[in-house]
Amino acid sequence: MSSANEILMGTQAGTFKPRTRQRGMFSYKTKKRLVPFLYVAPAAVLFSLLMLFPMITVLRYSLMDGAIMKKNAVFVGLQNYVTIFSDPVFWQSVGQTLYFTVMSVIFHLLIGLAFALLLNTQRIDPTLRSILRVLFILPWLFTAVIIAIIWRLLLDPNGVVNSILIALHIVDFKVEWFSSTKTALHALTFANIWAGYPLYMVSLLAGLQGIPKELYEAAGIDGANEVQKFRYITIPQLMPIIISIALLDFIWTMQVFPLVWMTTGGGPIHSTEVLSTYTYKLAFSSYEFSLASASAICILIMSMSVTYFYIKHQKAR
């Protein structure tokens, strides 16, 4: 019974018979060239079926008029892109998506880093540290539905947050957090920040635990204070993790849909409309699948531009 190695090496028990190997449909050299492709074939087929095919289909839909809904949809070139680019709500969604994403990434990083430093310090009692570790990671364990329900209840005009604020005389009226055009986007971003920081915390904590203690000792001997140690040792050591995770977070947050949909649905008016809700409404409310596909391709391009930096950064490492 011949093995893959035999095919590759053309040998069996030390006897090399190149002529017998050339029998059959393919020559030895062709077989040798084909083997790597056979190894990647299952992954390539799966990728093509599950990723490439849907992406190409969406791209094709975005260039057609009335895709899915019309039996004889025709090619219209970039007309759908022109239509969505001329819609002011689309540009409002782009701006709000960027605000939501950038603020989320910044505060995820700041809160995650602060909690990671807190959990890494030796000045806290180990038992308390273990309790805090569980508490801080809790938001990560909840699904988007649960997070949406929690924040809808907390930020309800008759909810806990308003009760506390009124009791402390910070406000003297019931703030309609998700129901006011002035506060809805900020409230939504806040809920997303709360839901997402544990990923940073866990990753940065692992990074902090991997920094050699000798570096801090050497810096101490050289007279560096805690701020200088943080600035010149901790941050540079964590930088590869920070960049990787921030780029991934940027891509993920830009596509967030369930939290936005279940809290505000893109409203009031269009004050929390993000690209994902804008696209969803085009597809499943207006049945404009071609316009929705064009909008989805815009999200894809934005995500891929960030992915480019991520891959470049990974290669540089």
Binding site: I68, M69, K70, K71, R152, D156, P157, N158, K174, E176, F178, S179, S180, T181, A184, W261, M262, T263, T264, G265, G266, G267, P268, I269, H270, K281, F284, S285, S286, Y287
Partner: protein, 417 residues
């Protein structure tokens, strides 16, 4: 076993197999997609299907059931790919799109072939003159009133006019105790609030938002209704958080005794009883404009039924539709679902239901079903467009007149497509 016996056994087995296969091939299997089975008591719909199969030997029905939104998605995908089930459960808001897509069949020829009397159907939904949907069961939306709150506020009769409603809402409102007269859900996720809680005021007074099948939102009745609702907000009688409130929030606030009145589906009576058995509440028809004496329009949602255009078994599918719409079966089905019948001759049995259903049936019989969104193109999108404009009005960005005019512009674009 000798060879002869073996061969005889094999022949007998082959004969039995062939007989079974012939039976199987003779049987027609039709699919019926709907979201009703999970909303009815376990086995209820299947039981009706079993009776249909017994009455129609040779036809088997496979129920494809799921929650409302998942069923909607499945129907949209099935319509696009030509794999829609033979019989389709429909919501009035989907009908126009599906009919224009050519996904649901006209039932006119099927009715003619079967010599079916269409006058027994309460409200046949037509698109471009073709009958595409029958409302099998209707869920009417009356006003629910918290009788304890009303009594405490000194209100001794159900509000019948807009003035009485506004007056009652004011009396029931007490922000210090988190109690408000009315609740209005205008969240954008499901813009049904526009249909059930806003435009229902127009239909209740016998007015319309359409003229010759086209949008007519700038008429006095629609603008007047928007102004009236805005006046309720200005008076502070609507529970806060309107723009983020969904239908389930509305029901929840009523159940918890935080609002005095809400417009809601009769289907929620049992739910309200389960959630708060002590809640003392009643129902009445939606108030009309002062001085109106005509028949009240009753907003409703319905379980509609239609036939897939791609079905290879349209005759069998029609038999199922006809069976479900027959007076006896229709009456039985709506009695289980706590709804009102789609067949005018059906007599539902509410003896085992909540006493309020009996009362609601009287309201139903004295008024007429009114939901002008049924059969409109991209109905959900139209509601969402209007929802945004009404939100702008509530937010002080525009007047009621502007909200109506801006919605009119957007609707005309949709109707022109």
């Amino acid at each position: 076993m000798n060879v002869r016996k073996y061969l005889a056994t094999m022949k007998a087995a082959a004969a039995v197999w062939a007989l079974c296969a012939t039976c199987a091939f003779a049987e027609t299997n039709i699919e019926f997609i709907q979201w009703w089975e999970p909303e009815m008591p376990a086995g209820a719909l299947r039981g009706i299907m079993d009776d249909f199969e017994a009455a129609n030997p040779g036809i088997k029905v496979t129920l494809v059931s799921g929650p409302y939104s998942a069923t909607h998605d499945q129907i949209v995908v099935g319509a696009a790919s030509g794999t829609l089930s033979d019989v389709v459960g429909l919501d009035g808001a989907w009908v126009n799109g599906l009919a224009k897509q050519g996904a649901i069949a006209s039932m006119d020829s099927l009715m003619a072939d079967a010599k079916y009397d269409p006058s027994q159907i309460a409200d046949i939904v037509k698109v471009n003159g073709q009958s595409v949907m029958f409302p099998l069961a209707s869920f009417v939306y009356p006003v629910f009133v918290n009788l304890d709150l009303a009594k405490a506020a000194g209100i001794d009769k159900m509000p019948a006019t807009r003035t009485e409603f506004a007056d009652a809402a004011k009396k029931m409102t007490n922000p210090d105790k988190n109690e408000y007269g009315w609740v209005l859900p205008l969240a954008l996720q499901n813009p049904g609030g526009i249909q059930n809680d806003v435009m229902s005021w127009v239909w209740a007074s016998g007015a319309s938002m359409l003229k010759d099948g086209k949008p007519d939102l700038e008429n006095e009745a629609v603008v007047g209704t928007l102004e009236y609702i805005k006046s309720l907000q200005d008076a502070g009688v609507i529970s806060p958080g309107i723009f983020a409130k969904k239908e389930q929030d509305k029901v929840e606030e009523f159940v918890n005794g935080r609002v005095g009145m809400m417009i809601d589906s009769l289907a929620h009576i049992n739910l309200i009883r389960e959630r708060n058995a002590k809640l003392n509440f009643g129902i009445s028809a939606l108030p009309a404009v002062d001085g109106y004496t005509g028949k009240r329009g009753l907003p409703y949602a319905s379980w509609g039924i239609g036939i897939s255009d791609s079905s290879e078994h349209k005759a069998e599918a029609w038999k199922l539709v006809e069976y479900l719409m027959s007076p006896d079966v229709n009456g039985r089905l709506v009695s289980i679902a706590n709804a009102f019948p789609g067949n005018v001759k059906a007599k539902p049995d509410f003896s085992k239901s909540d006493p309020l259903f009996e009362e609601a049936f009287k309201i139903f019989q004295s008024g007429h079903l009114a939901n002008e969104f049924v059969g409109l193109p991209v109905a959900e999108d139209l509601m969402r467009d209007m929802n945004v404009e009404v939100q702008k009005m509530f937010d002080g960005q525009q007047t009621a007149k502007d909200a109506a005019a801006n919605t009119q512009k957007q609707w005309l674009v949709e109707f022109a497509k």
